[in-house]
Assembly symmetry: C2
Homo-oligomer: 248 residues x 2
């Protein structure tokens, strides 16, 4: 967790989040009000957090990884609009009629997972969730196809859902139309947690990899290679190295 | 910075990095050997860091953001292969003949920037660097086109280089073929630093935004909207909200 996030957690009076994530930060939030750990529905939890905040109880909504990547920051802001709550941020002059909202960035699964594999994201990449609960499968398929065709490294979130288990196999089939079967693939489950599991495989063997709801899959681009157990996407296609002045 | 990164920095004997980034962490590295701050060439700096590490001096190579996203982790690992250095990680049994390499994840500019804008990355996104120093411009154009066509949120790294200033305008033209001119665009420079600058604009006005080499640009997808100064990409295309069990 970042120093920034720890500082913010210290200042709030209440914390809302899925029980699994609340448990991970128990030592940091003792004495604080815990919102609705029994509630399974995200929308209700966020609504309760907003009610508290509007009543003057500063409340943190926590999620794993980065709150902005497929996570809670979007839902909180969407709900503010839906409820017509006037909101403001730190960059704007103090306005007591507005609810102060701060999004605290974190390390997303695409970075923690990549770090355990080596450096698969040193070049352009696309992040795609295979969950079709909120997105039509046709849209997801179109994105997998586009990313595969344009040689993006592809980071797959939600490769498996409770309802369907064949999404990842469909994605694999689409990517195989454009990429070598031997393309390196990294599979990371529970990054930085007790159940952490890191596997290097290939695109053609991906359907036999162990994936669950905590898994992130990294499909290399046409230049990605493995070396001594590390998965590496080189920075350049032009094979020039002795350059300076790049932002990195 | 993460607690993990702080712990690792405390254990190393030497630190290599671009002077700007070394300066940001001076209080954390007093007494440690600083590698080649005068060297402008990344390759030489990484080579010097590897020489030190091979001689038994634990060395950290630092970069801004996350070291795996367009940054140094890839170059370090590429150089190990180029120099045929046998390497190993923490998941494998101790082997004294191998150089121990650990990639420590961080918060990438795409997350720190997104947090300052609101929540632009709550749905599928593509990260694309416009730098053509190591990648042919044709490849970059193809990726911008593919990402725009498949309705990815697009995160643009290196929108402007020293040599060329019209890359961003070209990318804007390509995206405009597929997306509404009023599409929300966020422009973030120097996120979390003294020179931080955050602007909300639109796709059609993007060519008039202030961008430099520290800028990251966020182009919304077809559903992205602004509310009270926050840029928000909703989670669903299906407009269903009362769901549970998603990983977030």
């Amino acid at each position: 967790m970042s120093q920034h996030a720890i500082r913010v957690l210290a200042t709030v009076d209440a914390v809302a989040g899925y029980t699994t994530y609340i448990d991970l930060i128990r030592p940091l939030i003792s004495g604080k009000q815990i919102v609705s750990t029994s509630m399974q529905k995200e929308v209700d939890r966020v609504s309760a957090a907003l009610d508290l905040a509007l009543a003057g109880t500063a409340c943190a909504v926590v999620s794993s990884g980065d709150p902005g990547v497929y996570a809670m920051a979007g839902l909180v802001l969407e709900m503010c609009r839906r409820r017509s709550i006037a909101i403001g941020g730190s960059d704007r002059p103090e306005d007591e009629d507005r609810l102060f909202i701060e999004v605290v960035p974190g390390i997303p699964a695409l970075c923690s997972g990549a770090s355990l594999l080596g450096a698969p994201l040193t070049h352009d990449f696309a992040a795609i969730s295979l969950s079709d609960l909120l997105t039509p499968w046709e849209t997801i398929e179109k994105r997998v196809e586009a990313a595969a065709r344009a040689d993006f490294v592809i980071v797959i979130y939600n490769p498996k859902s409770r309802r369907r288990t064949d999404h990842l196999t469909h994605a694999q089939e689409i990517i195989l139309r454009h990429r070598d079967p031997a393309t390196p693939v990294g599979v990371v489950t529970g990054a930085m947690r007790d159940n952490q599991r890191v596997t290097l495989t290939t695109l053609e063997a991906l359907d036999r990899a162990h994936v669950d709801m905590q898994t992130t899959v990294f499909v290399g681009n046409s230049t990605t290679f493995n070396y001594d157990g590390f998965m590496i996407t080189p920075r350049g296609y032009a094979k020039k190295y002795d350059i300076a002045g790049q932002q990195c």
